[in-house]
Symmetry: C2
Subunit: 99 residues, 2 copies
């Protein structure tokens, strides 16, 4: 692989990987998850894990590292969203009992 | 590249790529963008574009296709978030003038 290609790969990795940190910080700070898709974060964290294994397997280090690092903020957002979804499911159930 | 590795790459691609569609559908349907990070979607769409060029360059087709397809829903979410941010910036400016 040429040096320029590897440099572009690492730039791409830096952009997509760093992008999840402002989202995770926002979600952890505001706990505002109404606009966040639970399905997206379930699929995404599974996919990022699979990409990491793939990158390791074919020894594509930009792909490997980008996905290992992305897993952290993605899992943080997923955790908050799952919590909020469970809470609102509980609320709905309680409301149902009241009626 | 072995067939199993390529299969894993395409599985990973299917997961992370498909993940942005439920988010885009949710955002387009509800217009609920308060919990969405503008900075995330700016960095992310730039990064996904860079990954597509990288994948093409090193002829890593799972990386190329995953990112070309991801660009669509990511750009849709970004567009809605940019619109909402411009609108609320306009609102703040008008409120400032009223005082």
């Amino acid at each position: 692989m040429s040096n320029s290609a590897q440099w572009l790969g690492f730039t791409a990795a830096a952009l997509t990987t760093s992008s999840f940190f402002p989202q995770a910080l926002k979600t952890l700070r505001t706990n505002e998850t109404a606009g966040i898709s639970l399905r997206m974060y379930l699929l995404f964290t599974s996919g990022v894990s699979a990409w990491a294994v793939y990158g390791f397997w074919v020894q594509d280090w930009p792909v490997f590292w980008a996905n290992v690092v992305t897993l952290l903020p993605a899992a943080a957002v997923l955790e908050r969203k799952v919590r909020a979804s469970l809470r609102s499911a509980g609320d709905r159930q309680r409301q149902g009992k009241d009626r």
